[in-house]
C-alpha cells in the first residue's frame, strides 16, 4: 500500500464531502447556471486532489481545460436555454428519460470496468518510478507512444463535433453585409443628409428622461425617429405632450 501523509488526509476529509455535496447539488438545483457553477467547483476540487497526489500537471490542466469547457457550457445555457431558465420535467423527446437512464448506467459501467481493469490485480509502482523522468515528460511519453491512437481518435471526434456544430449553426447570407465604411458612405450619399450625424436621442425633460418619450423638435412636434422601433411596436411609448410647456412663445425677439 502507498503511504498517505497526514496533511493529505486532512485535506481529503475537508474537500471530499464538499465536492460530493456539490456534485449532488449539481443534479438537484433548479437553475441551469447554478448547476454549471457547481460543476466548475467539482472540477476544481478534483484538480486539487490530483495535485495533492503528485499529479501536478494533470491537476493544473484539469483546471485550464475544464474551466474553459464549463465556460462554454455557461454560454450554451445563456444562449440556448435562456438566462433565468429553470429545469422543466416535461419530456420533449419520447422516452428521453429511459434513454438517459440507460446511457448513464452504461457510462457508469464503462467507468467502473475501466478503473477496475487499471487497478485490480496490479501493484502500484509508486510516484517516484512513475515520475522518474519528470511528471510532464512521463505523461508526454505515454500519450505519444502507447496511447497515440486513442489520442488521435478522440481529437478526430472532437474536430468532427466542432465541424458539426459549425454546420448546424451556419446560415448562408443571401447578400453581402455592407461594411462599416460602406454604411458610413451610404449615409452621406443617399437619402437626406439630416440623419447623417445619427438619429436624435429620446426626450430629456425636467420631469421625465427615459428612452420611452420622443424628443421634441424645435417647432414643438415629437420626433418619431428619437425612440426605438421596438418600443414603438411594443406600445411602450409615452406621449411627449404632457411634458411640453403650456404656452410656447414662437416669436423671436431680435437682439439690438
Amino acid at each position: 500500500m502507498l503511504e498517505i501523509a497526514t496533511p493529505e488526509t486532512i485535506m481529503f476529509w475537508a474537500l471530499a464531502p464538499l465536492s460530493v455535496i456539490a456534485a449532488l447539488g449539481m443534479l438537484v438545483v433548479k437553475k441551469a447556471v447554478h448547476s454549471a457553477i457547481l460543476l466548475a467547483f467539482v472540477m476544481v476540487t478534483l484538480a486539487i486532489f490530483f495535485i495533492a497526489q503528485g499529479a501536478v500537471f494533470l491537476g493544473v490542466v484539469q483546471i485550464v481545460v475544464y474551466t474553459g469547457a464549463v465556460m462554454m457550457l455557461f454560454l450554451f445555457i445563456l444562449m440556448l436555454v435562456g438566462v433565468d431558465s429553470s429545469d422543466s420535467l416535461t419530456e420533449t423527446i419520447k422516452g428521453l428519460r429511459w434513454i438517459a437512464i440507460a446511457a448513464a448506467l452504461g457510462f457508469g459501467g464503462l467507468m467502473i470496468a475501466l478503473i477496475a481493469r487499471a487497478t485490480l490485480g496490479r501493484t502500484a509502482i509508486g510516484l517516484e518510478i512513475a515520475n522518474s523522468d519528470g511528471n510532464v515528460e512521463g505523461i508526454a511519453m505515454l500519450l505519444f507512444s502507447d496511447y497515440v491512437l486513442p489520442f488521435e481518435v478522440i481529437s478526430a471526434l472532437l474536430i468532427t463535433a466542432a465541424l458539426g456544430a459549425m454546420v448546424l449553426a451556419h446560415h448562408q447570407r443571401t447578400n453581402r453585409r455592407p461594411s462599416q465604411r460602406e454604411q458610413a458612405i451610404a449615409r452621406f450619399r443617399t437619402g437626406s443628409l439630416s440623419d447623417a450625424a445619427g438619429l436624435p436621442g429620446p426626450g430629456v425633460y425636467a420631469l421625465h428622461n427615459a428612452v420611452d418619450v420622443p424628443a421634441l423638435l424645435p417647432d414643438g412636434t415629437p420626433a418619431p425617429t428619437s425612440i426605438s422601433a421596438t418600443l414603438k411596436a411594443r406600445g411602450d411609448v409615452i406621449e411627449s405632450a404632457p411634458f411640453q410647456l403650456d404656452v410656447v412663445d414662437p416669436t423671436i425677439k431680435e437682439e439690438k
Binding site: 485550464v64 462554454m72 443617399t190
Partner: protein
C-alpha cells in the same frame, strides 16, 4: 541547488511571512498603480491629475478606497444573491493566488533563513497562473449573470467569449517559451534566460503575441469590451457598489500587475539585472534584485497606460477576428518554427542548415504575402449620387453643395 529545493526548506512561519509580504505587495502596488495611471494618463492628456491628497496626490487612491468602502452597499432585487456576493470574491482571490509562483528576488536572507521571495515553485508554475486566471474570469462572468440586468449580462458574455479566444493565443505563445527553456517552472525559465539571452529577443513573436493577449486577458483598453462604458454603462460591474465594486477594482489592478510580472518572468529575465549590470545583483545581500523586477513590471504597466491613452476600443467583431484569425494562426506557425529549430539544434546540425531553414521560411513567407497582395482587388465602383441637401454642406466629391449666396438672394450685403 534549484529554487524548488531552496523553497522546500522553508519552515512554516516563513511561508506565512512570505504570503503576507506577497499580499502586501499586491495591495500596495494596486494603490500606487491607480495613482500612477491617473497621473500618467493626465500627463498624456495634458492635465495635472490628482495632486491634492498627500505629496503629489500619492494618497489619493487610498482616500478613494476609503470613500468607496463607506458607500451604501446595494444588492439589486433581481440579483441572484449568493452568486452576486461570491463573484467579486472569486475575481479578487484568484489574482492574488497567481502571485504565489512569481519569483521576485534571487537567493536572499529573510529573518536569518536562506530563501527566495517566491511563495512556491511548481514544476508547472506558468500553467498554474493560466489556471487561476481562468478561474478569476468566472468572477466577471458570474457577476454579469447574477446582476439580473441587461448591460452586465452583455458584459459578462463578452468577457467569457474574450477569455475563451484570447487564452488560447496566450497559451500558444507560452509554448515556445516552454520549448526553449525545457521547463514550465517560473524559476527555471528565468534561469535559462540568465544563461542565454532574454526570451523577448530570442522569441520575439511569442513576446508580441503574449503582450497583446495579456491586454485582452485583463479587460483593459483597447480590449475592454466587457466594461465598455460607452456601450454598456459599466459592463459586468454596473450593478455593483461599495466594497464589492472595490474588490473588482482591486482585482483588475492586481491582475494587471500579475500579468506584467508573468511577462517579466517569461520574457525579460525576471529579477535578473539587464546585461552589463550583473554586479548590482549582489547589493543588499541580493535584495536589490527586487528593484530590477519592479522596474521591468513597470515597463509593462506603462505599456498598459500608454495603450489606454492612445487607442480607441475595438469593435466586437474586429476584436474576435483579430484573436481567431491573426493571433492564433500566427502563434501556431511560430510554434512549428521554434519546435523545428529546436530539434535541428539538438540533433547537432551545422549552422548552415539552421540558416538555410530560416531563410527558406522567410522566402515562403514572402511568396505567400505577395500572392495575397496580387489577389487583393480594390473595388472602384462609382459612388451613387445622393439627393442634393437642402442646407449648406462642405463640398464633397459626388454631392453638389448649395451655393449659399445664390439661395438667400444675396441679401446679406
Amino acid at each position: 541547488m534549484t529554487t524548488a529545493e531552496l523553497l522546500g526548506q522553508d519552515p512554516v512561519w516563513l511561508i506565512v511571512v512570505k504570503a503576507v509580504i506577497v499580499f502586501a505587495i499586491c495591495v500596495v502596488s494596486t494603490l500606487l498603480a491607480v495613482w500612477t495611471e491617473r497621473r500618467v494618463l493626465a500627463k498624456m492628456q495634458r492635465r495635472t491629475g490628482p495632486n491634492r491628497v498627500g505629496p503629489f496626490g500619492l494618497i489619493q487612491s487610498l482616500a478613494d478606497g476609503v470613500k468607496l468602502a463607506l458607500k451604501e452597499d446595494i444588492i439589486p432585487a433581481a440579483a441572484d444573491k449568493v452568486v452576486f456576493i461570491a463573484a467579486p470574491i472569486i475575481a479578487t482571490s484568484m489574482c492574488f493566488m497567481a502571485f504565489a509562483v512569481i519569483p521576485m528576488t534571487g537567493k536572499v536572507n529573510l529573518f536569518g533563513q536562506e530563501t527566495a521571495l517566491q511563495l512556491t515553485d511548481l514544476s508547472v508554475g506558468v500553467l498554474y497562473i493560466l489556471a487561476v486566471s481562468s478561474i478569476g474570469v468566472y468572477g466577471i462572468v458570474l457577476a454579469g449573470w447574477s446582476s439580473g440586468s441587461t448591460y452586465p449580462l452583455l458584459g459578462g458574455l463578452r468577457s467569457s467569449a474574450q477569455v475563451v479566444s484570447y487564452e488560447i493565443a496566450m497559451g500558444l505563445s507560452l509554448v515556445a517559451v516552454f520549448i526553449y527553456a525545457g521547463s514550465m517552472s517560473t524559476a527555471e525559465i528565468i534561469g535559462s534566460q540568465h544563461e542565454n539571452y532574454w526570451n523577448a529577443l530570442v522569441l520575439f513573436p511569442s513576446f508580441v503575441i503574449f503582450v497583446i493577449s495579456m491586454v485582452g486577458e485583463t479587460n483593459r483598453a483597447p480590449f475592454d469590451l466587457a466594461e465598455a462604458e460607452g456601450e454598456l454603462v459599466g459592463g459586468f460591474h454596473t450593478e455593483y457598489s461599495s466594497l464589492k465594486f472595490a474588490l473588482f477594482f482591486l482585482a483588475e489592478y492586481v491582475n494587471i500587475v500579475a500579468v506584467s510580472a508573468l511577462a517579466t518572468t517569461l520574457f525579460l529575465g525576471g529579477y535578473h539585472a539587464p546585461p552589463g549590470l550583473g554586479f548590482t545583483e549582489g547589493w543588499l545581500g541580493g535584495w536589490f534584485t527586487i528593484v530590477w523586477f519592479f522596474l521591468k513590471v513597470n515597463i509593462f504597466f506603462f505599456i498598459f497606460m500608454w495603450l489606454r491613452a492612445s487607442l480607441p476600443r475595438l469593435r466586437y467583431d474586429q476584436f474576435m477576428k483579430f484573436g481567431w484569425k491573426v493571433l492564433i494562426p500566427a502563434s501556431l506557425i511560430w510554434i512549428l518554427t521554434v519546435a523545428t529549430l529546436r530539434v535541428i539544434q539538438q540533433e547537432g546540425a551545422s549552422r548552415t542548415v539552421l540558416i538555410a531553414f530560416v531563410l527558406g521560411l522567410v522566402l515562403i513567407g514572402f511568396a505567400i504575402t505577395s500572392l495575397f497582395e496580387r489577389s487583393k482587388k480594390k473595388s472602384e465602383e462609382p459612388m451613387t449620387q445622393g439627393d442634393a441637401p437642402d442646407f449648406p454642406v462642405p463640398s464633397l466629391p459626388g454631392v453638389s453643395s448649395i451655393n449659399v449666396s445664390a439661395q438667400t438672394g444675396g441679401d446679406r450685403e
